[in-house]
């Protein structure tokens, strides 16, 4: 029994590790859909929204936001910091908003919200 539990945990952790990869984009864009935020607030939104399942260090977050900025999916404005230097407040660009909408429709709403799939998901817990 203990042997199975350990193996199941190993399977689950492996699956979750792979599953989480690539989710950062969705969660960052969702955080910005919720409203403009600076990096720390985006990170907090993601951690709360995913029950800490999806996390990223500051450097990874800044790199990701920089890539999305170059790709014109997010924009930012410089806002005065509490005491220190100015902070970037990121917001979803019109392109990013439309891409997010299409992604959510195609990959979440039209898949996991189908009655039969939703029912199946509910029965699997």
């Amino acid at each position: 029994m203990d042997k199975d539990a350990g193996y199941e945990r190993q399977l689950l952790e492996g699956w979750e590790e792979v599953f989480k990869k690539g989710q950062l984009t969705l969660w960052i864009l969702l955080a910005l859909k919720h409203g403009p935020k600076h990096m720390a607030d985006i990170k907090q939104f993601i951690e709360q929204g995913t029950n800490n399942a999806v996390t990223a260090d500051n450097a990874s977050m800044y790199r990701a936001l920089r890539r999305y900025y170059v790709a014109e999916m997010v924009d930012f404005v410089a806002a005065p910091g509490d005491r220190g230097p100015e902070r970037k407040v990121y917001k979803l660009s019109p392109i990013g908003g439309r891409v997010l909408q299409r992604f959510v429709e195609n990959n979440i709403l039209n898949v996991f919200y189908k009655p039969e799939i939703r029912s199946l998901l509910e029965r699997s817990i």
Partner: protein, 131 residues
Amino acid sequence: MTKNLKLFSLFCLLWSTLFYSILQWVSLNQDARVIPEIVATIVYTIGFGVVGTYLGKGDSIRDVRFALSVWYGVIAVLIPVAVGAIWLVGWQAGDRVTPFVFAFFTVLALSTGYLLSRNKIKDMSKEELFR
């Protein structure tokens, strides 16, 4: 100067040389040169619009969209004029090989550029952007 603007300059150079060499080639055949000249001119003009628009879309909106479109226009005028001047004043390849050589290089440049850009978004691979 963005990478795409440099590519557009290369395209203008190849495309213009191809155009002038075709005109030169057509002028060798005095009998029926009007229609090929008209067709070449139309295709030549459309080529600038199509390739310029495609490359311009690949440039970041933040790279000063207005100035960039002006630069695309400037290059699309200056390079053909320069190639035309050189063609008229100096080198006139009055043979049947040059048009095919430049057609080959133009197609090669366009197809290579297309293949390289197919898996890229703003110079980033899809895996790099959405990792």
